[in-house]
C-alpha cells in the first residue's frame, strides 16, 4: 500500500433500539400480533393505517379505532432489483403504497411479486402473515392476491397480552477512512513509533494527531516522532465491573502526557498497584510484540512506571 494513502477499515455498527409504545401504536402492534390490522379514525372521519398518534390537521389525539381488511389495492409501487440488508424480502420485490379495504390512507409495505411485470397500479394484494408474530410491522408482507380470498391467519395471537414495546435491530456498515494525520499515526504505531503533529501558529504538539489545530483552526505540520515516555497528569481507579471488561478491577485509567506533547491521552497504567499511581508519576509505554500489532493505539499494551522521580506539579498543571 502507498505509504501516504489513507488507512481504510470496515466498521460494523449494530444496536437494538428498544422503544415503548403509546396507546395508539400499542393497539396497532397488538393487532398485528393477532393477525389483525387496526386503523385510526381521523378528525374528518377517514381511517388511517397505521393509526397516527395525532390527527395531521387538527393535531387532536386519535382515540377511535377500526379494524381494516388484510387485503387491498396498490396505489403506487416501485421495483427493487437488489434488496438491501434488513428489507422484508431477500429476492427482488416491490415497495407499494397499499390502500387496504376499509382504510382511506395507504400503508407502505413490501409486495412479494415475481417480477416488475407482475405489478400494476390498482392491482389487488393481500397480507401474508408470519407464523411467529412479535407485534411488529415486519410480521407480514403482501402478495398479489389474484382475486383469491384472503388467506386466514393460522392461529390467534402469538404474543401474550398487549404489545407495549418494540425492539428494532439497527445494523449499519461503514467504510471508515482515517484522515492523513490519523493514517500516519496508525502506520507509526505499527512500527512501534509515536508520531505527533504540531500547530504552525501556536506550536502546540498534538498526539494522537489532528487535522487542524483546535486553537487556531489551521492545518497541522508534518508528523514528527515523540518518545514513548511521559507522565500521568490525572487518573482514576476503575473498581466497577462492566460487560466486555478486559482487565480485572481494580486498575488505573490515566491521562498520559508524553514528553514533548501538549495534549494528554487516555491509556492504562499497569505493572504497579493501583494505589501507587500518582499525578506526576513517570511512565513508559509497554508495546505489544510486533507480530500482534495493528494500526491501533492498542499496540501499546499499557504504560508502566519508570521509577524516575515524579514530575513537579508546576510543570504539568496547565495540561490538566
Amino acid at each position: 500500500m502507498n505509504a501516504s494513502a489513507s488507512l481504510h477499515a470496515q466498521m460494523h455498527v449494530e444496536f437494538p433500539y428498544t422503544r415503548s409504545l403509546g396507546p395508539v401504536l400499542s393497539r396497532f402492534m397488538t393487532g398485528l400480533a393477532a393477525g389483525r390490522i387496526v386503523g385510526g379514525v381521523l378528525a374528518d372521519g377517514r381511517v388511517a393505517v397505521p393509526p397516527p398518534e395525532f390527527d395531521p390537521t387538527t393535531l387532536a389525539p386519535v382515540t377511535e379505532f377500526r379494524d381494516v381488511a388484510g387485503s387491498g389495492e396498490v396505489v403506487t409501487w416501485s421495483w427493487v432489483d437488489e434488496p438491501l440488508p434488513g428489507q422484508p424480502l431477500d429476492r427482488p420485490f416491490a415497495w407499494a403504497l397499499i390502500r387496504l379495504d376499509g382504510a382511506d390512507t395507504p400503508l407502505l409495505h413490501a409486495v412479494a411479486a415475481d417480477s416488475a411485470a407482475a405489478m400494476s397500479t390498482g392491482m389487488r394484494v393481500r397480507a401474508r402473515w408470519g407464523e411467529e408474530r412479535a407485534g411488529a410491522i415486519t410480521d407480514l408482507v403482501f402478495e398479489p392476491s389474484d382475486g383469491e380470498p384472503l388467506a386466514t391467519v393460522s392461529t390467534g395471537s402469538t404474543t401474550e397480552g398487549d404489545v407495549t414495546g418494540i425492539t428494532t435491530p439497527v445494523v449499519l456498515d461503514y467504510e471508515y477512512v482515517a484522515s492523513p494525520e490519523e493514517s500516519a499515526f496508525g502506520r507509526g504505531l505499527k512500527e512501534g513509533r509515536i508520531l505527533a503533529q504540531s500547530c504552525p501558529t501556536c506550536h502546540k504538539v498534538y498526539v494522537p494527531p489532528r487535522g487542524a489545530c483546535p486553537v487556531d483552526g489551521v492545518p497541522t505540520d508534518e508528523p514528527h516522532e515523540l518518545a514513548d515516555t511521559g507522565i500521568v497528569t490525572t487518573f482514576c481507579i476503575v473498581n466497577v465491573p462492566y460487560l466486555g471488561q478486559k482487565i480485572p478491577p481494580p486498575y488505573v485509567s490515566a491521562y498520559v502526557l508524553l514528553d514533548g506533547a501538549d495534549i494528554a491521552f487516555l491509556h492504562l497504567v499497569l505493572g504497579t498497584e493501583a494505589s501507587d499511581v500518582r499525578m506526576g508519576m513517570r511512565v513508559r509505554a509497554v508495546w505489544k510484540p510486533e507480530a500482534e500489532r495493528t494500526y491501533s493505539l492498542e499496540n501499546i499494551s499499557h504504560f508502566e512506571p519508570t521509577g524516575e522521580p515524579d514530575a513537579d506539579f508546576e510543570t504539568y498543571k496547565k495540561h490538566l
Partner: protein, 355 residues
C-alpha cells in the same frame, strides 16, 4: 426585523472523499476561502452553527470533532442541527434577529459515501412502522414518481427535461460531479434504475462541505464587506406530516407555506431559483408549489441532480443563489432546501441585490 446579508460562501463537492468522516480536511480550506472573501477572521464571527449527522459519519459526536477546523479558542458561541446546513443558517439568522450576534458562520458537511446512503437514510423515517422495513430513499422517491405518472401530473418526457437541463447547466459548475451537454433523448435512452426512475433522475451520492457567512447590515463590521452582499429578504421553513400515507405525495404544502411565509407571492419576479430537488419529479412539484413561472431560470448550478452532498446541498443552493446576486446576474433569487423523505420539510430563502 434586522436586515441580514449573505457576504461569503465556499463549497467542496466530490464523489468520494478519501478522508475522515468529520471532514475537517474539507472544512479548513472552506473556512480559509471565507476569510479570504470577507477579509474577516474568526474573532469577527458572533455565532457559529453547523448541520451534519452522526449516522452519515458512523461515529458519535462527529460535529464536535469537526470544531477543530474552527479554532474555538477562546470559546465560541456554537450550535448544531441534525439537518441540512440551510436550517443551521436559519438558526443563525434568528440569532442575529434576536440581537445576540451581528454575524454568523454556518457550515455543513457529510460523507455520504461512507455507508450505503439510500439505506442509511431509512433511519430518518418513522422508527415504529417504517424504519423496521428499511425502505430506501430511491424506492420512496420512485413511489412518488409513479404516482405522478399514473395520475398525469407529469410524464417521462417532463422528467427527462429536468435531468437533461440539470446535467447541461452543470457543465459550468466546477463542483458538479455529474454533468455534460445532454438532450432529452439522451436521458430517455438510459435504462431504468429504480423503475420508473432512471439513474439521471436521482441525485448522485456526493461527499462534501460548504460554509457561509452572514452579517447584520447595521453592524459596523458589515461596512468591510458591503460590496459583496445579497440581502435576505425572506426566510421560512415548514414541514408536512411524517407519515407518507397521510400526505398527498404529488404536493408539498410545506414548500408552498414556506414560500408564502418568506414573502413570495404568485407571479413575483424571481430571476433565478436554486431548488433542492434530489429527484427530477420533485423539481416539478416544487416549481408548482413555489409558483415559479417560465421567466425564472431554474438551477443554473445544475442543482441536486448534478451534486447532492448530504447536509450541505441545501446551503449550497442558497450559496449558488447568492453568487448570482453578487454577480448581478439576478436581482432577486429564491433558494430552496429540503429534508426528510419525498420533500417532507422545505425551506425557502429569498435573496436580493442592491437596487
Amino acid at each position: 426585523m434586522r436586515d441580514v446579508s449573505v457576504v461569503g460562501f465556499a463549497q467542496r463537492q466530490m464523489r468520494e472523499f478519501d478522508g475522515s468522516p468529520n471532514c475537517v480536511e474539507l472544512l479548513v480550506p472552506v473556512l480559509g476561502e471565507l476569510w479570504e472573501q470577507t477579509g474577516w477572521s474568526k474573532t469577527d464571527i458572533g455565532f457559529w452553527c453547523s448541520g451534519s449527522s452522526d449516522y452519515l459519519a458512523g461515529r458519535s459526536f462527529s460535529f464536535v470533532t469537526a470544531i477543530d477546523a474552527l479554532g474555538a479558542v477562546p470559546p465560541i458561541s456554537e450550535s448544531h442541527v441534525e439537518m441540512d446546513a440551510a436550517w443551521a443558517l436559519y438558526e443563525a439568522w434568528l440569532k442575529i434577529q434576536t440581537g445576540e450576534a451581528d454575524s454568523a458562520l454556518v457550515y455543513g458537511f457529510g460523507k455520504s459515501s461512507a455507508s450505503p446512503l439510500r439505506r442509511t437514510l431509512a433511519l430518518q423515517l418513522d422508527p415504529y412502522t417504517v424504519t423496521p422495513l428499511w425502505p430506501d430513499t430511491v424506492s420512496i422517491a420512485a413511489l412518488q414518481a409513479r404516482l405522478g405518472l399514473d395520475q398525469g401530473a407529469w410524464d417521462e418526457k417532463a422528467l427527462a427535461e429536468v435531468a437533461a437541463r440539470s446535467r447541461s447547466a452543470a457543465v459550468d459548475n466546477e463542483y458538479a460531479i455529474r454533468k455534460g451537454a445532454t438532450s432529452v433523448d439522451d436521458v430517455l435512452a438510459q435504462p431504468l434504475f429504480a423503475d420508473p426512475l432512471r439513474r439521471w433522475d436521482c441525485a448522485p451520492v456526493t461527499d462534501g462541505a460548504a460554509g457561509m457567512i452572514i452579517a447584520a447590515t447595521d453592524a459596523p463590521l458589515f461596512d468591510r464587506v458591503r460590496e459583496r452582499s445579497a440581502a435576505i429578504t425572506g426566510f421560512a421553513h415548514h414541514t408536512d406530516a411524517s407519515s407518507l400515507g397521510l400526505r398527498d405525495l404529488l404536493r408539498a404544502p410545506s414548500a408552498a407555506a414556506a414560500a408564502q411565509a418568506a414573502g413570495v407571492s404568485d407571479g413575483a419576479a424571481i430571476d433565478v431559483a436554486e431548488l433542492h430537488a434530489p429527484f427530477s419529479h420533485q423539481e416539478l412539484i416544487l416549481r408548482r408549489e413555489l409558483g415559479l413561472g417560465d421567466d425564472t431560470e431554474i438551477n443554473p448550478s445544475g442543482g441536486a441532480l448534478a451534486a447532492n452532498p448530504m447536509f450541505s446541498a441545501g446551503l449550497v443552493r442558497i450559496g449558488e443563489a447568492a453568487a448570482r446576486v453578487w454577480s448581478g446576474r439576478a436581482r432577486t433569487a429564491l433558494a430552496h432546501a429540503t429534508s426528510g423523505p419525498a420533500l417532507q420539510q422545505n425551506l425557502v430563502c429569498v435573496l436580493e441585490g442592491a437596487s
